[in-house]
């Protein structure tokens, strides 16, 4: 059996200052297998992948490829062994052409590059995979979805590839492209290439994976065949506790209108009428680029607009984020790394930055009071860290998101806008955030929830507005919720 293994990682251990990220972890992949790697945030998936990719070096353990022990101490080592990685965050060079990005790092010893040949190779690879992207386009002119495809193509363009690691490859591409990706994966399987697939979308995993390995808190939990395990069991393995009903939700009696937009237009959205009531979770659904983020940007004073906005029945002008905050609006943005956090600063700094005024006594900040608040939200949101002086950038994705949430909850908003609050975070943290939303609504906070995951919308929202091409295409009440109805508005 072990002779047939394409990859065998045994006893992998990795310690970072203060954290044991991986403890005696095992991962085995057979040729032609799609192996899902699952685990909550901070379970150690990324660390394991980075060891395999040569970005981190392991402290202990061994890696075998085709039964041979190998040492992977650099990115080039990993490449030479036929390991290719699609990283979670899009990592492309903005001012290089698609062709140059796809072939970046494959230049070898040549001094001058043959642009014509590079274009041809890139074009051929893209075509073979069934995608359609202009190889001469500068990457920074492409949409996020297109960029993700370039990234996928790049990982597959290396010739001697034996093993491909895909870390959340579908995070921002359309369903049509997901189908193409899966078709590609199936073709790669036939060639005997092994694939490690990381995703938080369960339906994808059941669709494409053969086996799965679960990690939790840096430890190996188990490996199972996909057809021998139920969704419930997978979740249990990941979370380590019985999860009863993942999405449980009750609606409170909904109160009066707190926010009204009348014929609001900005550069990106057109003639939007929108209403939010007290204690409501109002979903905003739509395809990527439908204008959901752009609409809430208007509400938060980030884009200028024409039209009327009423808050608590009074007409207001929202010119900047400060105005919005004064009216009790808070926005948890889509891209936590760019817009939500000061990654180079501490958890403490990030937690209190929005409410700094409250801690001021004359010109001094009252640290003790601020620390108390940080502590309070750490408990409330179950954020995992040892010291609030730790840099936020060192936390896992889910915990980072919780810090963003705590930062805005501390401001005690009446209207909380959540833009893709559960993107790229695991089921455990997701359900904690769902619980939190439920809790907040009870406390009479009104919530606007943007999500691309329909189940999330269907389970959490009291009402959903569907956007398409910068306009509101329709409203659906909770009693009328069904996927088809909502899709119909979103798709056209």
């Amino acid at each position: 059996m072990s002779e047939n293994l394409l990859l065998a990682m045994e006893g992998i251990t990795k310690t970072f200052p203060g954290v044991k990220a991986l403890n005696n972890v095992k991962l085995e992949v057979m040729p032609g297998e799609v192996h899902a790697l699952l685990g909550e945030n901070g379970a150690g998936k990324s660390t394991l992948i980075k060891i395999l990719a040569g970005i981190y070096t392991k402290d202990a353990g061994e890696i075998k490829i085709n039964g041979e022990i190998v040492e992977i101490s650099s990115v080039n080592d990993a490449k030479a062994k036929g390991i290719s990685v699609i990283h979670q965050e899009i990592s492309l060079v903005p001012k290089l052409s698609v062709a140059n990005n796809i072939l970046l790092g494959t230049e070898g010893k040549e001094v001058f590059i043959n642009n014509k040949k590079r274009r041809e190779i890139a074009q051929k690879t893209i075509k073979e995979l069934g995608f359609d992207i202009d190889v001469d386009a500068m990457v920074d002119t492409l949409s996020i979805a297109q960029q993700q495809i370039v990234e996928i193509v790049r990982a597959l363009a290396t010739e001697e590839v034996k093993l491909i690691v895909m870390d959340e490859p579908t995070a921002s591409i359309s369903e049509k492209d997901v189908d193409k990706l899966f078709a590609t994966i199936r073709r790669l399987k036939k060639k005997g290439i092994g694939i490690i697939y990381i995703s938080h979308r369960m339906e994808e995993i059941t669709q494409i994976a053969d086996r799965l390995t679960v990690l939790r808190d840096g430890c190996y939990i188990g490996t199972r065949n996909i057809d021998e395990i139920s969704m419930q069991d997978i979740v249990e393995m990941m979370v380590g506790r019985q999860v009863e009903e993942m999405y449980h939700y009750n609606i409170n009696a909904i109160g009066e209108t707190v926010l009204k937009m009348k014929d609001v237009s900005s550069q990106y959205v057109h003639h939007v009428d929108f209403e939010l009531k007290k204690g409501e979770v109002h979903g905003l659904y739509g395809l990527i680029g439908a204008g959901r983020t752009e609409l809430v940007r208007v509400l938060f004073g980030l884009d200028s607009y024409q039209g009327e906005i009423e808050i608590q029945g009074k007409e207001v002008k929202i010119r900047n984020a400060g105005d919005a905050m004064e009216h009790g609006i808070a926005l948890v943005p889509e891209d936590r790394k760019k817009e939500g956090l000061f990654l180079e600063n501490t958890i403490y700094f990030n937690s209190v930055i929005t409410i700094l005024k409250e801690f001021m006594s004359r010109f001094r900040i009252k640290n003790s009071k601020a620390r108390e608040t940080t502590e309070q939200y750490k408990k409330m949101l179950k954020i995992k860290y040892t010291d609030s002086q730790q840099l936020v950038g060192t936390l896992s994705g889910g915990n980072q998101q919780k810090v963003v949430l705590s930062k805005w909850l501390a401001a005690k908003p009446d209207i909380l806008i959540l833009d893709e609050p559960t993107r790229g975070i695991d089921i455990g943290a997701k359900s904690e955030i769902y619980d939190l939303i439920f809790q907040l609504v009870k406390e009479n906070v009104s919530i606007i929830l943007i999500s691309s995951e329909l189940p999330e919308i269907l389970n959490l929202c009291t009402r959903v507005s569907v956007m398409r091409e910068g306009r509101i295409a329709g409203h659906v009440e909770r009693k009328d919720f069904n996927q088809k109805e909502i899709f119909k508005y979103a798709m056209k």
Binding site: I55, V75, N76, V85, L92, P94, L96, F112, I113, T141
Partner: protein, 312 residues
């Protein structure tokens, strides 16, 4: 969609070209001494030394750095080269030794930026002082005369009707063009400046790339210093002050982004020419140099503002 993007791209490229042509037309109308054959080469010779520095600087900025030490390297190179010749060395050997010295300066900058991970602004601010100091120490504070006539041809000679510095400038332009737009190193420079972690994840030795651009920049500065010394018949420890700012201005005028990852050789050359023509034209019109400075600043601000709104 793509066509619109392309059109916008070429428009924003043309803005600078149009501005350049407009400046030429205005000066031509204001003075009949401006648009002449002699003055054409005159401008080119005037910009050649700063131009060579700006080209090296362009690589550093695209790679995400900045090199403030170029003016000092320029002064040091001039004094060292003249000093070695005065000591009886053949001028070609003196030039080679001076360039080798520049490589050492470049490695020094690159070492602290890439290996020690210090911000390039700080590192080169420090080396700017150090190298300027070295130039004063070596020359004991006074100019060193260039006594070799062959050496003095570098700055003052002609090949046909073309001044030698102009030819050297064109050669350097071609070399930097090949590096940036035709070689592997060029792709790597864009990669490291545009997205460093991506470059590292792609197996690119980012440190090597960073060190290389500082070495190239220092060599460009040294070459420029040698040409200037030859042209002035002496190596002056005070020369090249503010040269780093002129070089940065030229690169930025040419569309090089300060945040790294974008820029072009053609852009920088255009930027150099705009600055050169401005200086030359204002001199011909007898505008006092104090006013010239103010005007130059305004034009840089305006040009970049126009470029920005065009890009939007």
């Amino acid at each position: 969609m793509n066509k619109v993007v392309k059109l916008k791209d070429s428009l924003s490229k043309f803005v600078m070209v149009i501005a350049f042509i407009a400046i030429i037309i205005i000066f031509s109308l204001l003075s009949d001494r401006f648009f002449t054959f002699d003055n054409f080469f005159n401008v080119l010779r005037q910009v050649s030394t700063n131009g060579i520095i700006a080209l090296g600087m362009t690589l550093v900025i695209i790679c995400g750095g900045i090199d403030l030490s170029v003016g000092s390297v320029m002064a040091f190179a001039g004094t060292l080269c003249c000093g070695l010749i005065e000591d009886g060395m053949h001028f070609t050997l003196a030039i080679l030794i001076t360039l080798a010295c520049a490589v050492v300066f470049g490695l020094f900058n690159g070492f602290f930026v890439a290996k020690v991970n210090m911000p390039p602004f700080i590192v080169t601010l420090a080396t700017m002082q150090m190298i300027r100091g070295c130039a004063y120490i070596y020359s004991q504070g006074s100019p060193i005369r260039a006594i070799d006539e062959n050496f003095n041809m570098l700055g003052n000679g002609y090949i046909g009707v073309v001044p030698v510095p102009v030819i050297l400038f064109l050669v350097v332009t071609l070399m930097i063009y090949l590096i940036l737009h035709r070689s592997k190193m060029g792709v790597y420079i864009y990669a490291v400046g545009g997205n460093k972690s991506c470059a590292i994840y792609s197996g690119i030795n980012a440190k090597k790339v960073e060190i290389s651009v500082f070495v190239i920049s220092a060599m460009c500065a040294a070459l420029s210093g040698i040409i200037l010394a030859s042209r002035m018949y002496s190596g002056q420890p005070t020369s090249g002050q503010g040269a780093e700012m002129d070089a940065i201005a030229a690169a930025v005028l040419g569309g090089t982004s300060f945040s790294g990852g974008s820029g072009k050789v053609s852009g920088t050359v255009l930027g150099i020419l705009i600055i050169g023509v401005m200086n030359n034209g204002l001199n011909i019109l007898n505008v006092a140099s104090y006013y010239q400075l103010v005007l130059k600043g305004i034009i840089i601000l305006l040009a970049i503002y126009v470029d920005m709104i065009k890009k939007k």
